[in-house]
Symmetry: C2
Subunit: 308 residues, 2 copies
């Protein structure tokens, strides 16, 4: 089809939202940045390391690649506005797969009113995705990792451990219908995008998206803020299907909940006494000191890094 | 060294300019977008296709990867403000090479007052770079590819054919001291960044950076604007060193000048009568019709696509 044929095919499947002032087809896209700032984040995803074409459809890979970047924008308290995507594909990539990938990115963006505003396509021996997401802070200060203070509440929203459980089931050849929800969570995360700006409005003092695992990611807040984080494992939700999957695999479901990344839940710190909407679940407190404690015991990275 | 050790090492070598409101280390960077818009462009570069580690140093690869994206921003008439970079590296990549790559990106950004504001690092079997550049339009409309009108002037600034000549010399095993300038141009382009905003101020009606070759890229302006472009090859600069290199390889230097990309010259269209600074060279005119003519003959892509 040729480079320009592929580009035309992809851009023909996209729709451009109101934040896109100039879309694909020029040297650069132009996006609205209404408050005079822009949040920007980028990830590189490599076939075989971050996804497998035999385990995930092109559509799900597109949704997941978009989701993990849009979630990073939301975790600053910003509203995602657009993606730009560098795409490396082997010469024999089926057009239908490329269509599905494009549709997946487009549809995930549509969940938050964002658009795929531009990109680049090159030949590569493996599928490689360089995804950059941009967002609008709506006049609010960005919610960084460094504002947590002792006595504040630690809360999460979104799913924890689902994607890790789904990956473990796939790796064990145990991806049965009974566990479809967990396997689907590995293939396509569902980050709670709108909770990011909500947390900023509620006065969150620190926030991040849980991409490496809850304990490790709370460790980033602890380190950046110069505090400790005490997690109460009793407060963590462990759904019945995850208990059943853990039993089937001889695993501990809490390993997935505390150590599993890729669900792109949001973890945030709020001043004590903040009235949180039901979607936020308080799971611990900020304390003096450093590091992360679970049930009062220091949680070394080694304890929860099975999924790295 | 581990993922976080590598990240700390890289970010420790960077400096952040005034457009970076929040730099590396959080879920996203935050950049100034002073006029309420942001220009954004992304490229994916794959080892073996876009660069070779045995032909270019890490430093030169870093400069070149940054340059090609910063040039795209300049070609909209914008001032580049920042890069974010997704970096895939093999496990055995020497730290010194990574340092050099980082320094190259940092130094190329410094040429225009931009910064490497964030990124991502992952393992990959080859070096892969996903580079995204952002820029500020300074209140001006973006200069797209679609505004050229018959009777207007076509002008270029920057080098044409140098990188293609240098690549041909390397491929022929003829990269001798005599041709050091051409080989250096392949390794490290020197885009005329500041001429981009200048062209916008001068009233350019269309502009792009010459990355695929002059004829092919002028063809993009012709197609987007619904016009033809007539190039006078006598007006094109062919330096003596390029003539000598062509003689040594049995090549036609005009093939490099008309067909060679990667120098990231700027090609722009201006209203007739525009007083252009000396750095801009008028090389042709916009005409009725379509496509690109060179010396009055239609130039099919096939005529000048040796370097694709």
């Amino acid at each position: 089809m040729g480079e320009f044929g592929v580009i035309n095919r992809i851009t023909g499947r996209l729709t451009q939202g109101p934040d896109v002032l100039l879309g694909p087809g020029d040297d650069a896209a132009v996006l609205a940045a209404p408050d005079g700032r822009v949040a920007v984040t980028t990830d590189l995803l490599v076939e075989g390391r971050h996804f497998r074409r035999d385990w995930s459809s092109g559509y799900d890979i597109g949704r997941k690649a978009a989701a993990q970047n849009l979630a990073d924008v939301a975790a600053m308290g910003a509203r995602p506005t657009a993606l730009v995507v560098g795409l490396g594909i082997p010469a024999d990539t089926p057009v239908a797969w490329l269509d599905a990938l494009t549709d997946g990115m487009r549809d995930e963006c549509a969940e938050v009113g964002a658009s795929v505003a531009g990109g680049d396509i090159v030949r590569a021996d493996l599928v490689v995705l360089g995804v950059t997401a941009l967002g609008d802070l709506g006049g609010r200060p960005p919610v960084t990792r460094s504002g947590a203070r002792p006595g504040q509440l630690v809360a999460v929203t979104g799913r924890l451990g689902y994607a890790a459980a789904g990956l473990a089931l796939l790796q064990a050849g145990h991806a049965t219908e009974e566990f479809a929800e967990l396997v689907a969570a590995h293939r396509r995360p569902r980050p709670p995008y709108r909770r990011g700006p909500e947390a900023a409005e509620l006065g969150a003092t620190a926030m991040l998206d849980v991409s490496d695992g809850l304990v490790q990611d709370l460790g980033h807040i602890a380190a950046a803020s110069g505090v400790g984080v005490a997690v109460d494992p009793e407060a963590l939700p462990v759904p019945e299907t995850m208990r059943a999957a853990a039993a089937a695999l001889g695993a501990d479901p809490l390993d997935w909940v505390l150590g599993g990344g890729e669900d792109h839940a949001l973890a945030a710190v709020f001043p004590a006494g903040t009235a949180l909407p039901d979607e936020w679940r308080v799971i611990g407190r900020v304390v003096e000191g450093g590091g992360v404690q679970v049930a009062g015991r220091a949680a070394g990275r080694a304890g929860w890094d099975h999924f790295r």
